[in-house]
């Protein structure tokens, strides 16, 4: 048998005290699509960044087609035919598609080789169905198109090995299908693909073998056949069994939130205007909001959080009409908010965790008295929440921004649930979280409902919405296309509505 396309052996990497990769071995064959599975912090991304030359391994060897190679810089990995599509895209927003392809490429007689690039671009379109207009600015592309451009960049540079880091977390179902088609076309031409994900369903659709990482170690390398159950994989990933969230039907209580024909102006460069939004949410209910990112979900959450005033319509919280609601007024009415941008709008990266956790209520007891902060009470509260929500590697005095995504989200959830809210606005509450952390968040949301609270769950993950929501509303272009009971909300129908087809409702 010929040497495998790629062979990693004994890869080891430490970041200070954290041991991110421990003696990792991994093999990838020509034309193979390999799944790389693991929780957040299991070391998947670190391993791939080592392979891509963004980090230097402390120990271990990398072989490509049997030859040992040294990769110290992305330029080295690119020269060896390794391309990577990062979770956060590495694109220059204010340049065109073509310019992004040309960055770091040699020119022709000292000048940019635009003609050559255009020809190559056309051939990518023919071979893999990857097409983009060359003169479009990246900032005008949708997230799915930006990802396509990242893949095109890798292929443009002649990648034989392509790494994708959680590629579908930002895609609509149909965009994901397009991605899978392109990946299969590449594999058929002998390109090796490493596909990082913790969505088991899509791994089953795409890959034949998975490597599972836990705490930096390879804990499994197995053919992904039907004999392998989701439970087995989850146990490998987390080292424990996880219960799927169970929703119990409840008799709805009094209406806690009602929007009647709400409209709001677009704000900022990428803002979306809200138009004629009406729905109501009762105690004990979870209302899911589905939609492709950037269709007004963020604005809707901000409006109900009191950050954006409504222009038209009526907003009722717990039966009270609010004309120009303020965040403080809403909090007094029992509204809690988990914003989409955890560090931008939820917590303060540079502040100690104790301050981040007291943020919404620092002006009132127990956190302050007579206008003076009570630091001891803040620290005590933070310590209690850290313990109650199992926020790992955190201390009240530690910097908020040093926490990982999952722990940030736990901290945020702890703060918002601490004072017995009646209504929780949760925007993308599990985005980027691993299976265990997701399960934790889900159980808290369901618990709030059992206790008579209501949740507005804004998410791009249709599986999550279907598992938790009683009803699902779909947003498109700042409007609500339709609201379906969860029993009638199948993927195809939701997919059509997400594309703006009201008829599907």
């Amino acid at each position: 048998m010929a040497a495998p396309l790629l062979e990693l052996s004994g890869i080891d990497k430490r970041f200070g005290a954290a041991h991110a990769n421990r003696a990792v071995d991994l093999r990838l064959d020509h034309g193979e699509i390999l799944g790389l599975l693991g929780e957040n912090g299991a070391g998947k991304t670190t391993l791939m960044n080592i392979l891509f030359g963004l980090y230097a391994a402390d120990a271990g060897t990398i072989r490509i087609a049997g030859q040992p190679v040294r990769i110290r810089h992305p330029a080295d990995s690119l020269a060896h035919g390794i391309g990577m599509v990062h979770q956060h895209f590495h694109l220059v927003d204010r340049m065109t598609v073509l310019e992004n392809l040309l960055i770091g490429q040699p020119g022709r007689r000292g000048r940019l080789d635009r003609a050559g690039a255009l020809a190559k671009l056309a051939s990518l379109g023919e071979r893999y169905g990857l097409r983009l207009a060359p003169e479009r600015l990246v900032e005008t592309l949708t997230v799915g198109e930006q990802q396509r451009l990242e893949i095109m960049k890798a292929l443009y540079r002649g990648a034989r090995i392509l790494i994708l880091d959680e590629p579908t977390s930002v895609l609509t179902p149909s965009e994901a299908d397009g991605l899978f088609r392109a990946l299969r076309a590449m594999a058929a031409e002998g390109v090796g693909v490493i596909y990082i994900s913790h969505k088991l369903a899509e791994l089953r659709a795409l890959v034949s073998r998975v490597v599972v990482l836990r705490q930096g170690r390879v804990v499994g390398d197995l053919a992904l056949t039907e004999a392998v159950t989701d439970q087995q994989l989850a146990r490998l990933m987390c080292g424990q069994d996880l219960a799927a969230p169970t929703r119990t039907a409840r008799a709805p209580g009094p209406t806690l939130l009602e929007l009647q024909g709400i409209g709001a102006a677009a704000r900022g460069r990428h803002g979306v205007a809200l138009d004629d939004i009406s729905f109501s949410l009762a105690a004990g209910e979870i209302l899911g909001i589905a939609g492709v990112s950037g269709n007004g979900q963020r604005e809707l959450a901000q409006l109900i959080a009191g950050l954006v005033p409504p222009r038209r319509g009526r907003l009722l919280v717990a039966g009270q009409i609010l004309r120009r609601p303020t965040p403080r007024q809403l909090r007094r009415l029992g509204v809690a908010v988990i914003p989409e941008d955890r560090l931008g709008e939820g917590l303060i990266a540079g502040a100690p965790l104790a301050e981040s956790l007291a943020l919404a209520r620092f002006h009132e007891p127990p956190f302050s008295r007579h206008g003076v902060l009570r630091l001891a009470a803040m620290a005590e509260f933070a310590a209690a929440q850290i313990a109650a929500f199992d926020v790992r590697s955190a201390s009240p005095g530690g910097r908020t921004g040093a926490l990982s995504g999952g722990n940030l989200q736990k901290a945020l959830l702890a703060r918002e649930l601490a004072f017995g809210p009646r209504l929780l606005i949760a925007a993308q509450p599990t985005r980027g979280l691993d299976v265990a952390a997701q399960a934790f968040v889900h159980s808290r949301l369901l618990e709030l409902c059992r206790q008579g609270g209501a949740v507005l769950l804004i998410s791009e993950d249709l599986d999550e919405l279907s598992a938790l929501s009683d009803r699902i509303a779909v947003m498109h272009g700042g409007r609500i296309v339709g609201i379906l009971p969860v029993a009638e909300a199948d993927r195809t129908r939701l997919g059509l509505m997400m594309a703006g087809q009201a008829a599907a409702a």
């Binding site: 895209f89 694109l91 927003d93 310019e99 960055i103 770091g104 040699p106 000048r111």
Partner: protein
């Protein structure tokens, strides 16, 4: 009818060929330094060392030219010393990732102190500042005889031609070559550039060295072509003006030329107004004119300007 007479005097002034030739002379050092700053900022580094580097360039250029009698040696020395301090700023802001504001102002103070100190060491405290024989105009054969255009554009000192030629050259480098694309990518999104195989640090150092050299050259122009001497006030805020001109130019070399010429025209105008004593107004009012106009232009035009996205942001490898 004093007003009408003053206005017609102003018209006469503006229509003189000499005025336009002066605009170009006054605008040249601004253009050179603005292009230098533009290069640094396009790579993502705000160079607040500009004022100091210009002063040091003026002092070094003058001293070398004074003792060797070779103006071009002075220019060479100014280029080198500018590049050197550009690299020093690189050490602080690129390699060490320090605050670009603090490091830049530090460079300006360091260069200012060094210039004064070195000048005192070399020349002592002369009653009359020493002079050099400045650059002479170099009429372009054939073109200098053109009516109006000739004396304005083609009968200038060589550094003016150089500054004007740098505009298309830099535009070509920035927009048409891989080097320029990589430089802009580094200033917009260094992470993206790095993962495309661009050496981010090396690009930033190159931009700072080149930019610093242009700032040094701009300073040397003032002492070797405009004032023929070095004085402590030779730069007097021109560097800071260039920071504003870069914004006004929206980080584009062609617009930079426009911005430098606009400021140069107002500066030349206020000089004439001062010396003509027109309107019977106190001269500091005229002195304000170009600066006031810059503020106004910024307020009107620069609102839509978008700086390179990674400006002021240090790039660190292996950041988690």
């Amino acid at each position: 009818m004093a007003g009408r007479r003053a206005i017609s005097a102003l018209w006469d002034l503006l229509l003189q060929v000499g005025f336009f030739a002066a605009v170009l002379r006054v605008a040249t050092p601004l253009l050179l330094a603005t292009l230098g700053e533009l290069l640094c900022e396009r790579a993502g580094v705000l160079n607040l060392g500009i004022e100091g580097i210009m002063l040091l360039g003026a002092m070094t250029g003058f001293s070398v030219a004074y003792f060797t009698g070779e103006l071009w040696l002075g220019i060479l020395a100014a280029l080198l010393v500018g590049a050197l301090f550009g690299l020093l700023l690189g050490l602080l802001t690129v390699s060490l990732g320090l605050s670009q504001h603090v490091a830049g102002l530090g460079i300006t103070m360091l260069c200012t102190g060094l210039s004064f100190y070195a000048y005192r060491l070399i020349f002592g405290q002369p009653g009359q500042p020493p002079h050099i024989e400045p650059f002479q105009t170099l009429p372009v054969p054939g073109l200098a005889e053109l009516p109006w255009l000739g004396p304005v554009l083609f009968d200038q000192v060589p550094l003016v031609y150089l500054a004007l030629l740098l505009v298309p050259l830099l535009a070509f480098l920035l927009y048409r070559t891989p080097w320029g694309l990589n430089l802009r990518a580094v200033g917009e999104n260094p992470q993206a550039a790095a993962s495309a195989g661009v050496a981010v640090f090396a690009m930033r150092y190159q931009a700072l060295a080149l930019g610093g050299a242009l700032m040094g050259l701009a300073g040397a122009y003032l002492s070797l072509a405009q004032f023929n001497a070095f004085t402590f006030g030779v730069i007097s805020g021109r560097g800071w003006v260039c920071i504003a001109l870069v914004v006004l130019a929206r980080w584009d070399p062609w617009r930079a030329a426009g911005a430098a010429l606009l400021f140069g025209a107002l500066d030349a105008l206020q000089l004439r107004l001062q010396s003509s004593g027109a309107f019977g107004l106190p001269y500091p009012l005229f002195l304000m004119l170009p600066f006031l106009a810059t503020i106004l232009a910024m307020a009107l035009l620069a609102r839509s300007a978008r700086a390179p996205a990674a400006l002021l942001a240090p790039f660190r490898r292996e950041e988690r």
